[in-house]
Amino acid sequence: MSGAESTRRTGWLAALGAHALLAPAALVTLVPFVWLACAAFKRNEDFFTSAFLPGGEGVLGVAWERLTLENFERLFGTLGLGRAIVNSVFLSSATAALATLISALGGYALAAFDFRGRRAVTGLVLAAIIIPPPLLIAPGYQWLFRLGLLDTFAGLILPAIAPAFGVYLFRQACASSVPGALLEAARIDGAGEARIFFGVALPLLRPMVGAFILLTFLGTWNNFISPQVVLQTPDRLPLAVAIAQLKSTYYQDYGLLMAGTLVSVLPLVVLFMSLQREFISGLTTGAVKG
């Protein structure tokens, strides 16, 4: 047996071995999603007798008639979860758009201009990245209280739209994909600074803009501790807090809780799966290039 042949054979076996490990792991990863989708349509008593869908006489051995939309009717009816969805969509979109714009402006300034104080500001940005968020919870809360911003959307959005990490990412992206000569040429052509940023630099930064919008949207949607601390009025709560509160009242109402969780999770998972290429590349940029 030649060396190459044996390598090929072991390669084939090894590939099979890899699948034998990866496929079950992938299955286990997907099961909670499938289970969640089933649980949201189940009556409470059926949780005792079935893991996924209740068994019965129907197609595929499932008692389809036992499934119910009642969980969703209660969520969107008396429990008013629609309001929480609107709040989450608003908070996440506003935060993502503003944080991306401000980060892009700052990162561009640090990468494309040579000015006194540039090193100092860059150092501050890097220092700000390592501040652990829990450190700012207590003083931030007291500060919002003094500013009269407790229980307002502004109190939630304003502290979240100047992320040092974003400035750093855009500075890196600018340095690698916006050539200084191009900006200089635009300047010589007499273009104003605003036009150069929006017309020349920003289009070149498109991949990072897309990735950072997604990253911030997801982070805001899934954020719990800030809205939990800042907001009080039930009408203003985003999904993360509203769903968690649901648990304290209806903790044994499994179908209801899982319907609420499904509604909170499904739109994002679908959205991000379709945009995953951009998202994942943006996610790893900081780690690999930094």
């Binding site: 060396g3 402006l105 300034a109 207590a138």
Partner: protein
């Protein structure tokens, strides 16, 4: 490089102003706040280093610190090795279905920790939960097994493993792109075993990014809060077994109303995290000079 002028400062202004108001000021304030005792956000009195002195002899704080450290250790010895293992399997040249695996493993990272806690709160239930039902069907497991009463830490590890294994895997996969292909092929042809190839070729190449992933995971794990808090119904669980440092910070600041004591806890946490970051930098530097 553009010449100086006001342009870069105008571009940086939104970031700088918001950072001063919502990061720098609360950060400075948290230092003085940690020397005060407060009664809600409005009233306080100066206590000097009393908060820190009390912290060192506070059995609940040590309980929280112990639980958190244990959790961080499980991240290091369970979650990260599995993530790396998955990445290595996926990185096999010519593996079919890599993109699908990648997407599947990554998908739980899109689910916010609150929603993960909601799902696993029901999955871990005694008779009605998926985990006991599945284990019962497979190996005759006790349906009454009380995950959230007796096995809090194990439950946390299982839930986080589901959520973050694929997320860290993405970083490791990116790092594996740095492994020189010809070198690993040469080692394979020379008949070096998998373990030797990993130690001699793969590990040195992924160490820089690997160290960064480890650091990020450690920092993130030290800030564990929402998962146990929601799993255990807005509390620390039986015997405080799910109490973490940030949960204790939250309870002291927002349930007991002492933002000063909460700030002191925040500073101790920040110190630990900066220590971890410094340690990682040192190890990385030793690596370069060695």
């Amino acid at each position: 490089m553009g010449s100086a002028g006001a342009a870069p400062w105008v571009l940086l202004a939104p970031f700088l102003v918001l950072s001063v108001v919502f990061t720098a000021w609360p950060l400075a304030r948290s230092a003085t706040l940690s020397l005060e005792q407060t009664f809600g956000p409005g009233a306080s009195r100066w206590v000097g280093l009393e908060n820190y002195r009390h912290l060192l002899s506070d059995p609940l704080f040590w309980k929280a610190a112990g639980n958190t450290c244990l959790y961080v250790c499980t991240t290091l010895v369970v979650q990260l090795p599995l993530s790396l293992g998955c990445a290595l399997l996926l990185n096999r040249p010519g593996l079919r279905g890599r993109a699908v695996y990648r997407l599947v493993f990554f998908s739980p990272a899109l689910v916010g920790v609150v929603f993960v806690a909601m799902m696993f709160g029901v999955i871990f239930e005694k008779r009605t939960g998926l985990l006991n039902q599945a284990l019962h069907a497979a190996v005759g497991w006790d349906l009454e097994f009380a995950w959230l009463q007796g096995w809090v830490m194990t439950s946390l590890v299982i839930a986080t493993l589901w959520q973050y294994m694929g997320y860290n895997m993405i970083y490791f996969l990116a790092a594996l792109q740095n492994v020189p292909k010809d070198l690993s092929e040469a080692a394979e042809i020379d008949g070096a075993g998998a373990a030797r190839r990993f130690a001699a070729v793969v590990w040195p190449a992924i160490r820089p990014v690997g160290g960064f992933v480890v650091l990020l995971s450690v920092i993130g794990s030290f800030q564990l809060f929402e998962l146990p808090w929601i799993l255990l119904n807005a509390g620390a669980g039986p015997d405080g077994r799910g109490l973490t440092i940030v949960m204790y910070l939250y309870q002291q600041g927002f349930e007991a109303g002492d933002l000063g004591y909460a700030s002191a806890i925040g500073w101790v946490l920040a110190l630990v995290l900066v220590g971890c970051a410094a340690l990682q930098r040192r190890l990385a530097r030793e690596e370069v000079t060695a």
